[in-house]
C-alpha cells in the first residue's frame, strides 16, 4: 500500500512542479479574468474623451433637443455650412448638419468630422431625430404621442420552476444554458486533458523500459492506479487553483475600479454576460432578475456533482487510456484505439445542444445514466433541475462503470505493459483480458 502512495506522490509532484503546470495555472485565471474585464476596459479606453458636436440645424426642429450625454457634448451654431464646418473641424469637433428638406420632413443629416464618430454618437443622434420626426408626424395626423406611449407594451415572461416539494423558483433559461454548457464542456476538457496525460505517462514508461525495472517491486495494478490517482490529484489541484485565482484576480481588479464609474459599467457587463442578452437590453430590473435566478440554482449540488462527475468520468476514461498506453509500443500507435474510446465523449458533446433544449426528454435522461456519457450530459441537465433519485442512480452507475473499466484496463495493462514488438489487435486485447495471473 505504501508503494502505491509513493507512486502517487511521484506522479503528483513531478507534474505539479513542471513549468507548464505553473504557467497553465497562472495563465488560466488571467485569461478568464481578462475575458470578463476586457470588454469593459476596451469600451472605456475608446470613449476616454468626450466628443463635441456642433449642430447646424437649418430646420429649427431640433433646437435644444440634443442634450449633453455621458461622453457627448452638443452646442448649437448658426451660419453657413462652409465656415461653420471649418470652424468645428479646426477644434477637432464634429459638425452635425441638418439641411432644410425639399419635402417637409427632415430625414437626412450629415455628420462631418476629422475622425470616425463613435457608435454611441451616431446612435444617439439618430434616435433623437427619429423621435422628434415621428412625434411631429403623429401630431400632423392628429394622434397624441402619449396615446402611442400607452399602447406600447413590454412583455416580461418569468418562468417558474416547481420542484417535487412544491417549492417555486423563478428560473431563467439563458442563465441555465450558460451554466450547463460551461459545466459540460469543462468536464469534457478535463477528461481529455488529464486522460491524455495518463496515456502519455504509461506509454513513456513502457517505451523506455522503466516498467521492467519497477515491476520487480510493484504490481502492475499499483503502477497503473498510482498514476491515475496522481494525475487526478493534479487535475483537482489545478481546478481549485483556477477557481481561487480567478476570484482573486477579478476581485482585485474590480476593487481597483470601485471609485471610477467603470464599476457600474462592469456590473451591467457582468449581468449581460451571464444572461447572454444583447448589449443595451439590460437594466436594473433585469439585473436583479439574473441574480434571483442565480440564487435559484442549487450551487451546492452543482459543485458537488461537478467534482463527482469529473472524478468519476476521469477514472472511467483514464483507466481505458492507461490500457491503450500500455498496449501499444509507441505513442504514435495509440490513434486506432483512441477513436472508439473517445467516441462516446464526442457524441455527448454533439448531443449537448439537443439535451439543453429538452433536458427532461427520454434521450437526455438515458444519456445522463449511461456512464460513458453521463459525466457530461448530467452536468448539463443539473442546472435545469434534476430529481435527486436520478442523480443518485447516475452516480451509482458511474461508480459501477469505472470499477468495470478499471478492472478490464488493469487486465490489458498487466499484459500489454511488458509486451513488445507485437502488433496489437482487438482480438489480441480480448485474449489478454482472460489471461490468468
Amino acid at each position: 500500500m505504501d508503494k502505491i502512495l509513493l507512486i502517487i506522490q511521484r506522479e503528483y509532484l513531478t507534474r505539479v512542479r513542471k513549468k507548464s503546470f505553473i504557467v497553465m495555472t497562472l495563465v488560466g485565471p488571467v485569461l478568464m479574468a481578462a475575458m470578463i474585464l476586457a470588454p469593459v476596459y476596451l469600451g472605456e479606453l475608446a470613449s476616454g474623451k468626450a466628443t463635441k458636436v456642433a449642430v447646424l440645424d437649418e430646420t429649427g426642429w431640433f433646437f435644444e433637443k440634443f442634450k449633453d450625454q455621458d461622453k457627448i457634448d452638443f452646442y448649437y451654431v448658426q451660419g453657413d455650412l462652409a465656415s461653420e464646418k471649418s470652424k468645428a473641424l479646426a477644434k477637432d469637433d464634429f459638425l452635425l448638419y441638418i439641411p432644410l428638406p425639399e419635402l417637409n420632413v427632415p430625414v437626412n443629416a450629415e455628420l462631418f468630422g476629422t475622425g470616425q464618430p463613435g457608435l454611441n454618437v451616431r446612435a444617439y443622434i439618430k434616435s433623437v431625430m427619429k423621435n422628434i420626426v415621428e412625434t411631429k408626424r403623429l401630431m400632423a395626423r392628429g394622434i397624441d404621442p402619449e396615446v402611442i406611449k400607452d399602447i406600447k407594451t413590454e412583455i416580461n415572461l418569468v418562468t417558474i420552476k416547481v420542484d417535487e416539494t412544491g417549492e417555486e423558483q423563478k428560473s431563467n433559461t439563458e442563465v441555465e444554458v450558460g451554466l450547463a454548457y460551461l459545466a459540460g464542456f469543462m468536464i469534457y476538457f478535463f477528461i481529455f486533458m488529464f486522460g491524455a496525460q495518463v496515456m502519455k505517462g504509461v506509454s513513456e514508461e513502457k517505451s523506455n523500459r522503466i516498467v521492467e525495472v519497477i515491476i520487480s517491486s510493484v504490481k502492475p495494478f499499483q503502477l497503473m492506479m498510482g498514476k491515475i490517482i496522481g494525475v487526478a490529484l493534479v487535475g483537482l489541484t489545478q481546478f481549485m487553483l483556477w477557481i481561487v485565482l480567478t476570484f482573486i484576480f477579478v476581485g482585485a481588479i474590480q476593487s481597483g475600479l470601485l471609485n471610477s464609474d467603470m464599476a457600474s459599467v462592469f456590473q451591467s457587463q457582468q449581468a449581460q454576460m451571464t444572461t447572454g442578452s444583447p448589449a443595451g437590453g439590460m437594466d436594473a430590473a433585469a439585473f436583479s432578475q439574473v441574480s434571483d435566478v442565480l440564487n435559484g440554482i442549487n450551487f451546492k449540488v452543482m459543485i458537488f456533482s461537478f467534482l463527482f462527475y469529473f472524478l468519476g468520468g476521469y477514472l472511467l476514461y483514464s483507466s481505458l487510456f492507461a490500457a491503450i498506453g500500455g498496449a501499444v509500443d509507441q505513442q504514435a500507435d495509440t490513434q486506432q484505439f483512441m477513436m472508439p474510446v473517445s467516441l462516446p465523449l464526442i457524441f455527448a458533446v454533439i448531443a449537448s445542444s439537443v439535451v439543453i433544449q429538452q433536458p427532461d426528454s427520454a434521450f437526455s435522461v438515458w444519456m445522463s445514466m449511461i456512464p460513458l456519457t453521463s459525466p457530461i450530459i448530467m452536468m448539463m441537465r443539473i442546472p435545469f433541475g434534476v430529481p435527486y433519485w436520478q442523480i443518485a442512480l447516475s452516480f451509482g452507475l458511474l461508480v459501477a462503470g469505472f470499477v468495470f473499466t478499471t478492472w478490464i484496463a488493469a487486465k490489458i495493462y498487466r499484459v500489454g505493459i511488458l509486451m513488445y514488438g507485437k502488433k496489437v489487435s482487438y482480438a489480441e486485447l480480448w485474449k489478454w483480458i482472460w489471461y490468468k495471473e
Binding site: I7, N208, I210, E212, I214, S216, V218, L418
Partner: protein
C-alpha cells in the same frame, strides 16, 4: 555444484519464430556468468523470462533450488539494455524513488546512494535532470539504481554499450567488487571480448539454442589448438629445423631482429619436444601458448553446428 539459478529447457515461441529452443543454463552461486551470442539470438528473451517479465512456453526457472516466484524478483537487480529511468526527473530524486519502491527507507536509500555517488564520483549530478546527462552518465545512474538494494542476483543486459574504455574498466571493477560482496552476476552481451576477462562461466547462445556452456578456462582448454607462439633469433626457415611430421608452422614473420612463429604441436607432442628441436639451432627468446579467444571459439562452434 551449487547453482544459484537454473533455467531448464526454456522454450519460447513468438508468432512465426522460436526465440528460445530448450535452452538450459546453470549459474553457480557467486559466479560471474556471461550470456553470449549475436544480436537476436534470444539472450534478452531469456533474461526477461528469468525476471518473470515474459512467461516461457515450456521449461522452468529455479532460484536457490526452488521454482522462481514473485518474491524472488525483489532479490534480482535488473538493468535492461534500454535504460529504465525517467528522463525528466532529477537524478537524486529518481534514485531515491526507485530505491524506496524496492523497499528501502528514505534514510537508508539516501545513505546507500551517498556511498555509491561518492564511489563513482557522481556527487555533482544529484540535482541534474537525467536528460541533461550523456548516455554513459545515465548508465552509471542506472547501474547504481540496479545494485542499490543489494540484490543477491544481478542481471546486466549489454552493460558496456555506450561507455568509453575508462568507464568500462570502472564498471568492471565495481562488478567484481559486488561479486566479492556475495552477489551472483549474469551478463548478456554480443561483445565477447568485453567480458572475456571478467566472466568465470559462459553460455553461448546462437539462433535460439544453447550451443556451448561451461567454465571459461575449461572451455578454452577444450578448444585450444596446441599452438605456441615462439620468438627466436637465428635462421628464419624454422620449418627446416623442426620438420613437418610432428609440427606445423602456421605463421612465421620477422619483426626487426626477432622472428615470431606460430607452431602447432601434432601427434601429442609437448612444448618440451618442440624446445628440444629448436634449442640447438636458434636462440629462443620467448614461448607462449596461444589460447583461442571467445570470438574464435564462438565462430568455430557456430560453424560446426550449422542450423541456419
Amino acid at each position: 555444484m551449487d547453482f544459484y539459478l537454473r533455467a531448464s529447457e526454456i522454450t519460447k515461441t513468438y508468432t512465426g519464430h522460436k526465440a528460445l529452443d530448450k535452452v538450459t543454463i546453470e549459474v553457480p552461486k557467486q559466479s560471474i556468468y556471461g550470456l553470449l551470442g549475436p544480436n537476436g539470438a534470444g539472450k534478452t528473451t531469456l533474461i526477461r523470462i528469468i525476471n518473470m517479465i515474459t512467461r516461457p512456453d515450456e521449461g522452468e526457472v529455479f532460484i536457490d533450488g526452488h521454482p522462481i516466484s514473485r518474491n524472488d524478483i525483489g532479490n534480482i537487480g535488473y538493468m535492461p539494455e534500454e535504460r529504465g529511468i525517467y528522463k525528466k526527473m532529477k537524478v537524486g530524486e529518481q534514485a531515491i524513488y526507485l530505491a524506496r519502491l524496492k523497499g528501502l527507507s528514505r534514510a537508508d536509500a539516501y545513505k546507500k546512494l551517498k556511498f555509491w555517488f561518492d564511489r563513482l564520483e557522481m556527487g555533482s549530478w544529484w540535482n541534474r535532470k537525467v536528460e541533461e546527462l550523456s548516455k554513459g552518465m545515465q548508465q552509471k545512474v542506472q547501474f547504481i539504481v540496479t545494485v542499490l538494494h543489494q540484490p543477491k542476483l544481478l542481471i546486466f543486459d549489454e552493460p558496456f554499450s555506450g561507455f568509453d574504455p575508462i568507464n568500462v574498466n570502472i564498471l568492471k571493477d565495481e562488478i567484481r567488487y559486488l561479486n566479492q560482496q556475495g552477489a551472483t552476476i549474469i551478463f548478456s552481451t554480443h561483445n565477447m571480448a568485453s567480458v572475456e576477462e571478467i566472466c568465470d562461466h559462459i553460455t553461448l547462445i546462437d539462433n535460439s539454442r544453447n550451443v556451448l556452456s561451461g567454465e571459461i578456462h575449461s572451455i578454452k582448454e577444450q578448444f585450444k589448438t596446441h599452438i605456441f607462439n615462439v620468438a627466436y633469433r637465428g635462421t628464419h626457415d624454422i620449418a627446416a629445423i623442426i620438420g613437418t611430421d610432428d609440427f606445423r608452422v602456421t605463421e612465421n614473420k620477422k619483426q626487426r631482429d626477432v622472428n615470431k612463429a606460430d607452431i602447432q604441436l601434432l601427434n601429442g607432442k609437448t612444448p618440451n619436444d618442440l624446445l628440444l628441436k629448436l634449442l640447438p639451432h636458434v636462440e629462443v627468446v620467448a614461448m607462449q601458448e596461444v589460447l583461442p579467444s571467445l570470438n574464435d571459439i564462438f565462430i568455430k562452434v557456430v560453424n560446426e553446428n550449422p542450423v541456419r
